[in-house]
């Protein structure tokens, strides 16, 4: 077991933000996330750090030996920092990664033009726009083919007026979601997973779960296969339909739902016996995961197209091992469990 590296960030360009106090492995228990006297962006940073630590610790409790390795890094010109924590080759987890990323930089004119126009009706069309984003993303690929892969991403975005870069944000929004990708379907797991997120959503808005469930089904599709990546969950972007404080509470609830929604499933399924053929099926399904992430996933494409992409952090989402077979028969035979999941991936189900 190696301790996480602890390199203090040098954030000369961020004097107003005490980033220097935010060590990657210190979840800052002293900060009240509801304290509106602290800028929301800072509380979001506290939240994602705390989330990352809590999750990595919980997942490690299912591993006899393997531990998360932390790579803390600063972005060029101190425009932000990140902490990629990855555990690979474990007994329970073939690969698990949980990244946080904080960026404070400027959007080019071209980048602003690609974003939703109604957010920028105040923009002069020629200035680069200061922005801030803080997010946490996770992908877990368990070893056991009966234990599902899971992914989440939660992020907070702010755009600043270039004439008043330290004033209140001119635009802000939240994005995120959590989705489950089983190789073998257990209805009770699927229901538990979706129910967990429905409960979290319902506390904030009764319309959220149905909207975000459909958004998730729509987003995680692989058009060239005519199938979904997994059995969905929730997904949303550009969310600013309530106050920032309300939505921050919502996003915290969603991200905190990861552990109760997933931990009992992976704990239980990881103990199951499995055959070589079941492992093969899992590897083939992982191939599809790679296809989605590299061909369609917007975050991956956006990340890789950056000037100096942090490729290892972006692609930590890829499974450790995969299989790409030409026209495998498995998954096509009526009455098999492999065909069952394929049917659901081709036609998503309402689980709750």
């Amino acid at each position: 077991m190696t301790s996480p590296q602890r390199i203090p960030p040098r954030d000369e360009e961020l004097p107003a933000d005490p980033f220097s106090e935010l060590r990657p492995s210190q979840p800052s228990p002293g900060v009240d996330l509801d304290d509106e006297s602290i800028p929301l962006r800072l509380r979001m940073v506290h939240h994602i750090k705390s989330l990352q630590s809590t999750i990595c610790t919980a997942l490690e409790s299912l591993e006899p030996e393997a531990r998360f390795q932390s790579s803390y890094y600063l972005r060029d010109a101190s425009k932000g920092f990140g902490d990629s924590r990855v555990l690979q080759g474990g007994e329970t987890f073939e690969k698990a990664g949980c990244n946080i990323s904080v960026i404070k930089s400027t959007l080019s004119v071209a980048a602003v033009r690609q974003m939703r126009a109604e957010r920028f009706d105040w923009w002069d069309g020629v200035s680069e726009l200061p922005y801030f984003v803080a997010g946490c993303s996770l992908v877990v690929h368990p070893s056991n083919p009966h234990a599902p892969t899971i992914h989440f991403n939660y992020r907070y975005f702010e755009i600043q007026d270039p004439k008043d870069p330290n004033g209140p944000p001119k635009a802000w929004w939240f994005g995120g979601g959590t989705d489950l990708t089983p190789s073998y379907l257990y209805d009770e797991d699927a229901t538990h997973f979706h129910q967990s997120f429905k409960t979290s959503c319902d506390k904030h808005d009764q319309s959220y779960y149905p909207r975000f469930k459909k958004w998730c089904d729509d987003y995680f599709t692989i058009p060239h296969r005519g199938e979904s990546r997994g059995i969905g969950g929730i997904f949303f972007d550009d969310l600013a339909d309530r106050s920032p404080e309300d939505l921050f509470r919502f996003v915290r609830d969603c991200s905190n739902t990861f552990l109760p929604a997933y931990y009992p499933i992976v704990e239980k399924r990881s103990k199951m016996a499995f055959t070589e053929e079941e492992k093969r099926w899992q590897q083939l399904r992982r191939g599809r995961y790679v296809e989605f992430n590299l061909v369609y996933d917007r975050g991956t494409k956006f990340g890789l197209a950056m000037k100096e992409p942090r490729t290892e952090s972006i692609l930590m989402s890829l499974p450790l091992t995969t299989r790409f077979e030409y026209q495998p028969e498995i998954g096509t035979i009526e009455g098999t469990r492999e065909k069952r999941i394929m049917d659901v991936l081709r036609k998503p189900i309402e689980w709750v």
Copy 2:
């Protein structure tokens, strides 16, 4: 061993072309490929069928048991046909695929607009354009980490005047190339491979090899890794700088160079002993192959974006098994063979 399927094509829409005589597994030895009284497009079809058969037979000679499985298919509305031949899980070849594809259809206005404008100075800007394309592509992933992966693609394209769809083509060109992707570098193999293609190119034009070698290095790069996919070879597109007959001879020479360039290498390297660590390195390099093909390869992206993509044929290029590790140390240690190939992938070499 399963015999290739033999489904005769029904090409009602192609009465002028005796496609019905072109069975996928019959290489048509009676056709003189230099006989200019036969349309070039038809001779190209004969050539790629013959090429496919010759190559599959040759590669099978290195396999004690595994054989190519053929899937012959017709495109919708008899707009063409294809034959995908794939061998997987062999002793020498983990996965090898050789596809031929023939399409006779129309290009949408949007598709024409994406192509090189100077080819279409006669176009009215609103008509869909009849086109024909015939091509053969191959990817071979050997089992032994000392034996290199190889890829080629050769194709002939014609655009017809919509007012005279059976007249001579208004535009035509050839495209193609062959490139080698070793996990471990053997200088004598690299030199033999490049020398083989240089010799074939030099017979036609002394400028071809240097131009097409550079084009290959430029095309097969993975920007987010700052490295090439492999050690190159030749690559060209939109080639129409000589008569169609001259270039057809050139393309035949290049495609026929595959076997003498590659067979002796894979035959020799497949007999070498290898360690578990060498296999792991091969798997990691295969992960990069997947990254290039899914994120950047134009043929793959174009194919997957088609309305009804033949996904299995397009993605037969992906290796059977891969590995995606987060920040592996292997490949970074000075003095190792893994670091040696990485150095070459980061800075391509002139081999001949």
